[in-house]
């Protein structure tokens, strides 16, 4: 299949205007010594029907869809309203570039402006950027931002932060001389505040805590923020399950200085890891240290309302090595889907969806922990996932469930050998009483 639009006649005319006999004549600037001089070793071309048939067979080799899945851990199976797909697949949204020419990009720019407003409303922060790559890299950017804001050399990271967020932070700060210290969790499953108090000091730029955390437990953000404030350290709240903001108190109301998180739950499929979107908001005083694109309101020469990308003096194309971040683009199309999703769900729908997650999760936790040998690992309140301890290795239990057609959760031994009895079970609104009961029944059989 070729996507070239030139006829043989076109090519002839164009070559003539270029003054060469063949296209080869246009590549004279490439030294002979480095030319490939052979055809690339790639599979033969395919027409559209062949292509579709071929990829149907590749996709079919992913059998995941045959299982009843309770996997979560930062990526969630949620409903996606039909209009999200229908509207976001319009070519006018899918095929423009970054809106550098605002007069012909008002659609994208207004969507970003609405997205920023929605993120502010959800997080309780003053301002939001136009999105970052994903939750993990947003967490790393938030840590770098905190360091820029107060120039202190140490950051405190909750042990209950998503392990991939933690790894991403470690990778980003490794060559920058910023030390990372960990604060453990207690029986509740949340950050141990006594340990936090002991580790805080005048050299700490910020504390990053995830709520609900990796174990699904809602953190005591208000208490944590108060402790951090006592040392003039910034509180960064990471939200790996964006939907929780539909019912949990906005972190901005609890003392968070920076909120970052993952927007996958807002109309984006699990997609084997991406693309998703990272969201980020902060207080208005930090506007000029916020990384990423930002859309702002303005007027045209006739006084008509319009939107532009703004505050670009923070960014790499103007500031080069002095920029707040090296990030160039946002995840505009993912942010578009999130915007359509959130506006479709609306005030009532989002709250109802979040509540259904909580009720079903509570039902599942009670149902599973009635099984002999199974107990809740933590006592703290949860949103839509929780850790159960099972007798023996949770990975073996998960395998047993898998043999029965159920992916019962994430075995935590892969992240830390100390957690090997733990299974992180996620229950969203897509589950029903019946599927939860099936999981419980299967678990009972596996443990029998």
């Amino acid at each position: 299949m070729s996507y070239i639009s030139l006829s043989d006649n076109d090519k002839k005319e164009m070559l003539a205007r270029c003054g060469v006999a063949s296209v080869d004549g246009l590549f004279g600037c490439i030294p002979d010594g480095v030319r490939l001089g052979r055809e690339l070793d790639l599979p033969a071309a395919m027409t559209e029907p062949e292509l579709v048939r071929h990829f149907e067979s590749v996709a079919a080799r992913s059998t995941y869809g045959r299982y009843l899945s309770f996997l979560g851990g930062g990526v969630y199976h949620h409903v996606i309203p039909a209009i999200v797909e229908a509207l976001s697949s319009r070519g006018e949204f899918l095929t423009p570039y970054t809106p550098y020419q605002p007069e012909v990009s008002q659609g994208t720019l207004q969507v970003i402006f609405e997205y920023q407003t929605l993120i502010c409303q959800l997080t309780g922060m003053d301002i939001s950027n136009a999105s970052l790559y994903d939750g993990a890299s947003a967490a790393a950017e938030a840590v770098l931002m905190a360091q820029r804001l107060n120039n202190r050399p140490r950051v405190l990271v909750a042990r209950s932060l998503h392990p991939q967020y933690r790894e991403t932070i470690d990778t980003y700060v490794r060559n920058l001389g910023l030390a990372v210290d960990e604060v453990g969790f207690g029986d509740r499953g949340g950050l141990r505040s006594a340990e936090l108090a002991a580790k805080l000091g005048p050299d700490v730029c910020g504390v990053i805590v995830q709520s609900p955390n990796f174990f699904g437990v809602v953190e005591e953000v208000e208490k944590i923020a108060a402790l951090a404030l006592g040392h003039k350290a910034l509180t960064i709240v990471a939200v790996a399950e964006g939907l929780s903001l539909g019912i949990l108190q906005a972190p901005g109301k609890l003392g968070a200085d920076i909120v970052c998180g993952e927007g996958q739950s807002f109309g984006l499929a699990p997609a084997f890891g991406g693309p998703y979107l990272g969201f980020m908001g902060c207080g208005k005083d930090y506007l000029r240290q916020l990384p990423g694109r930002i859309a702002g309101l303005t007027k045209d020469v006739d006084g008509k309302r319009g939107f532009v990308l703004t505050l670009s003096t923070r960014e790499q194309h103007i500031r080069r090595e002095k920029a707040t971040s090296n990030i160039c683009t946002n995840q505009a199309w993912c942010a578009l889907r999130a915007t359509i999703f959130l506006e479709t769900l609306g005030q009532k729908g989002l709250r109802e969806m979040a509540l259904q997650n909580m009720h079903k999760t509570r039902y599942a936790r009670e149902r599973l922990t009635r099984i002999p040998g199974v107990k809740a690992r933590f006592s703290g309140p949860v949103f839509n996932e929780f850790v159960i301890d099972v007798p023996g290795d949770a990975a073996a239990v998960a395998d047993g469930l898998k043999a029965k057609g159920i992916l019962g959760g994430l075995a935590l031994g892969a992240f830390d050998p100390e957690w090997k009895n733990g299974l992180l079970v996620c229950v969203t609104e897509v589950q029903t009483r019946d599927t939860i009961d099936r999981l419980a029944g299967a678990l009972e059989e596996v443990l029998r």
Binding site: Y3, S5, M14, V23, F27, R35, L40, D41, A45, M46, L51, V52, R61, S62, Y64, G65, R66, L71, V75, A86, E92, T95, P96, Y97, E103, V104, E114, T117, Q121, S137, Q164, T171, N175, E220, L248, Q249, P270, F272, G274, P275, L287, G296, D300, K304, F307, T310, Q316, R319, N326, T329, Q331, W333, C334, I340, G349, H359, K360, R362, L407, T432
Partner: protein
């Protein structure tokens, strides 16, 4: 066209556009054991379904896009995005796969990643690729981190990265985020890296040179082998920004030019849609020596199938969750698979032909600061129009909007004052190229005859020229409920 209101301005209490089945489990009491539950989300919209559909449909009509017409945004490679690739990426085996799923249940996904890596190795002439970086800029950062790790393993990570003055702004920024100091290398009178300046700057404190090839002028760095020689002789590594791979596919491979590390933008060369500014994907290719440092996990062959390998003690770690923007990789593979080897070579051949056709058609009418041969793009400037009529590249760009064409990249690269950087890509028809050429000629005439019409352009867009200075001086970055009188 009237401006579409913000959704918040048409919201009214009690409306909704989506419902859920009744809860089929008992309602739990005291959901949060005493922690606060929010009562509402102040300002959050409440609208009906048809209102949402019309809102976004009308907004979409205020966008220009590749599906509408010519989009010659230089260095952004705005080519046609095949529709069938969207269909393939939407297949349930790809779109619904959970990234924590056991490897044996996601073999199709792992196969896609493996095959994209393999194809990119062949096209770029590198030994290995990682698909983890989310976009070009993150690819640059990973590349810098790999170089840092490699040189550290050799004994000294070094302090400085050299970057030509024509480079994209992400290059110095990415080097900086990796902890390197940046030193600029001058371009010579042909717009290429100045070898003498490079030789002088290339010391044993220098970790790497970041070079874009073809560079941002659309000029091939024909001394690339000498450049690599100078860098390697002092123990440095050569990084190539592969943003302009569109000019090279099937003709010449970075790995064969002495490049040690490069990133490729799947959303440029491999035709995945830009989506109004993302998602992108910035795979990084390397030579063998850097393999131990690649981000985790690696996708590896295991028997007949594929697995994920985490236990890599020398890895730089990870720069995001999971395995990169997977669905973007699916679309890129579909594109490579549709084209085959000849089609991939044709990308370079026709994009270079199209760019040279535009250049020949506009030379003399617009000023060309560097007359070195053009590859896939050409960089004109406003010099002729500015000197004679006071018309700037901004005026020219805005007037193009009235002619129904998206403007070229403006004011970049920085070494060309008043730049207009034109990249047509290979998928454009001659008819669309001619429409653009005629529009540019008409604008040059207007500059002489009626410059006012350019300075006040655009005239026919949904909004006219916007006040960007005011937006930055007094930033309003969200909607707020008008306060009650």
């Amino acid at each position: 066209m009237n401006r579409e209101p913000l959704i918040f301005e048409i919201s009214d209490a009690g409306k909704r556009a989506f419902g859920f089945p009744a809860l089929d489990v008992p309602e739990a009491k005291d959901l949060l054991d005493g922690l606060a539950v929010r009562e509402d989300i102040p300002g959050f919209p409440q609208v009906a379904e048809v209102e949402v559909v019309r809102h976004f449909t009308r907004l979409s009509q205020q966008n220009y896009c590749v599906d509408i017409g010519f989009y010659p945004l230089g260095s952004c490679t705005m080519k046609y995005n095949p529709k069938v690739n969207e269909k393939i990426a939407g297949m349930a085996g790809f779109a619904n796969a959970h990234p924590f799923a056991p490897a044996d249940t996601v073999q199709g996904c792992l196969e896609v990643i493996h095959r994209v890596e393999k194809a990119l190795c062949e096209i770029a002439g590198m030994d290995a690729f990682t698909l983890q970086p989310s976009a070009g800029a993150q690819g640059e950062l990973v590349g810098m981190m790999l170089i840092h790790a490699c040189l550290e393993a050799r004994g000294n990570p070094r302090k400085i990265v050299l970057i030509p003055d024509s480079a994209h702004g992400t290059n110095p920024s990415s080097a900086h985020v990796c902890g390197y100091k940046v030193r600029e290398i001058k371009s010579n009178e042909s717009g290429r890296v100045d070898l003498a300046d490079l030789a002088k700057a290339m010391t044993e404190d220098v970790a790497a040179l970041m070079v874009t090839n073809p560079n941002t002028l659309g000029v091939f760095e024909s001394d690339i082998c000498d450049v690599a020689g100078i860098v390697h002789a002092k123990g440095g590594l050569l990084y190539m920004d592969g943003a302009n791979m569109n000019a090279l596919t099937g003709i010449v491979r970075p790995g064969d030019m002495g490049v040690d590390v490069l990133h490729i933008n799947l959303h440029k060369t491999f035709s995945t849609p830009h989506g109004g500014g993302g998602p992108g994907s910035g795979p990084v290719g390397i030579v063998r020596e850097l393999e131990p440092f690649l981000p985790v996990p690696l996708i590896v062959r295991r028997g007949e199938g594929f697995g994920l390998e985490y236990g890599r003690p020398r890895s730089i770690g990870r720069v995001r969750s999971f395995y990169g923007n997977f669905l973007v990789a699916v679309k890129a593979l579909a594109y490579i698979q549709a084209l085959g080897p000849e089609g991939v070579r044709e990308i370079a051949e026709i994009s270079v032909l199209n760019a040279n056709y535009i250049r020949k058609s506009l030379e003399g009418i617009y000023h060309l600061k560097y007359d070195a041969p053009s590859m896939h793009e050409c960089v004109f400037s406003d010099k002729i129009q500015k000197d004679a009529h006071g018309v700037s590249n901004l005026d020219i760009a805005k007037r193009l909007i009235d002619y129904g064409v998206h403007p070229p990249t403006m004011s970049f690269p920085l070494i060309v004052h008043g730049a207009l950087m034109i990249e047509p890509t290979e998928t454009e028809s001659k008819r669309d190229l001619d429409i653009f050429i005629e529009a540019m000629k008409a604008i040059a005439r207007e500059a002489a005859e009626n410059p006012a019409v350019l300075k006040s352009a655009p005239h026919h867009s949904v909004v006219r020229r916007l006040d960007e200075t005011a937006a930055a001086r007094n930033p309003v970055v969200k909607w707020e409920k008008p306060s009650a009188r």
